[in-house]
Amino acid sequence: MRDFDYVAPTSLQQAVELLAKPAGQARPLAGGTDLIDHVRNGRLSPDVLVDIKKIPELNLLEAGPNGLRLGAAVNCATIAAHQAVQAQYTALVDSCQIIGGVQIQSRASVGGNMCNSGPAADSTPSVIALGGRCVITGAQGTREVAAEDFCTGPGKNVLKPGELLVELRFPAPAPHTGSHYRRFIPRNEMDIAVVGIGVSVTLDDTLKIITAARIALGAVGPTPILATAAAQALIGQPATDETYQKAVPLAREVATPINDMRGTKDYRIHLVGVLLVRSLQAAVARAKGECPNYKPGH
């Protein structure tokens, strides 16, 4: 592998100083499951890797009345095992259980998944559906970006050279809220989404009417897509299959998939409808406190 130096700062300030180099020369290392492979195969050629796993802010995982704070370097296995995340931010657990295999989940982080900015990233639609905000720090200070605005193209995002994604912040879900992420792949595990959909749904006190919803589509455009009109069509409507079907054409309308080896445009557009109905059914079941008929990978 290419020769590079390694530093493991213990403060955010040190990390920002170390990363303030011309573009590409210094790279943050979280789980390394993409980075180390990309350095080995020559796709990236950094001179220094800045291990961000020893910085307290990047390891934060705290849920409370003000919401969830998720440090950008926290690995998928830790997130999926966290009780409050399981109870209130379930779509994140769905994502973290199907990114790579178990070995990858021990290392890979949701922050890293977002920073790689793959259009088919499994965690980004969940982060968007749950209303996540990205806290970014650099030499110029700290700023926040909504998760749906973070990715700008395949492998591209709003991070400027030297900037670091520090944490993801999620609002506390309202009572009777459920969320879900599911993807379609031609096998049960270890594959890249042909289409992936993350949804979050809130019901009224009767558990019959939808009062709020967010829908995010993955792998059907250059970036994950927030399907605003489709979500809007659910508001004030009964939580039934008939309602979900009304959102389907609106979600399909904003999908701009490509033909590739994983699926054709038409097939992906079709899948958007199938997966949207299934993910809404599961999210609504969770909002009612029921256990949906879902197993990771199916």
Binding site: D5, D51, S106
Partner: protein, 162 residues
């Protein structure tokens, strides 16, 4: 060349120090520096699971971990599984069930099975297949591996009841 550094770690319960370039993977350190060649390299990019070791109890593909990241962690490799000259239940079940042919993937499968049984001592077949999805075997067709894991789990459960 980036400066070499000394890394202090624990492998299979023993304190170990090694000299490491930042670009060396944990897999390279285990095999080429420490001469612990039980851990195998398959794909070298995290897809096949042959190089699986346990890092602080969690399974990782050691080809995607830098040697320098092993500072202060607890590692468990295939060399630490047997109790002296006695194979553990997982190894014994793989051997008796012929859950291997060429054997290159086997240390990874055994480490991944150890991780599974540590957190889920009585997995269903579906859970076994899901948990082992990150380990590839091009010889067996997986059925004998799944049966060996079931057998090891049953034997451990039996041992606990005694």
């Amino acid at each position: 060349m980036a400066k070499k550094r000394i890394v202090s770690t624990t492998i299979n319960g023993d304190a170990v120090e090694f000299l490491c370039e930042p670009r060396q993977t944990l897999l390279e350190i285990l095999r080429d520096v420490l001469e612990m060649t039980g851990t195998k390299e398959g794909c070298g990019n995290g897809n096949c699971g042959s190089c699986t070791v346990l890092m602080n109890g969690k399974p990782v593909t050691s080809c995607l971990v830098l040697g320098v990241e092993a500072e202060g962690v607890e590692l468990r490799t295939i060399e630490g599984v047997a109790r002296g000259s006695e194979l553990d239940e997982v190894q014994q079940a793989f051997l008796e069930g012929a859950a291997l042919q060429c054997g290159i993937c086997t240390p990874g499968f055994i480490m991944q099975t150890e991780a599974l049984l540590a957190c889920n001592p009585t997995p269903t077949e579906e859970e076994i297949r899901f948990h082992l999805a990150g380990n590839l075997c091009r010889c067996t067709g997986y059925d004998k591996i799944v049966r060996a894991v079931q057998c090891a789990a049953e034997r451990r459960a039996g041992a606990c009841h005694k």
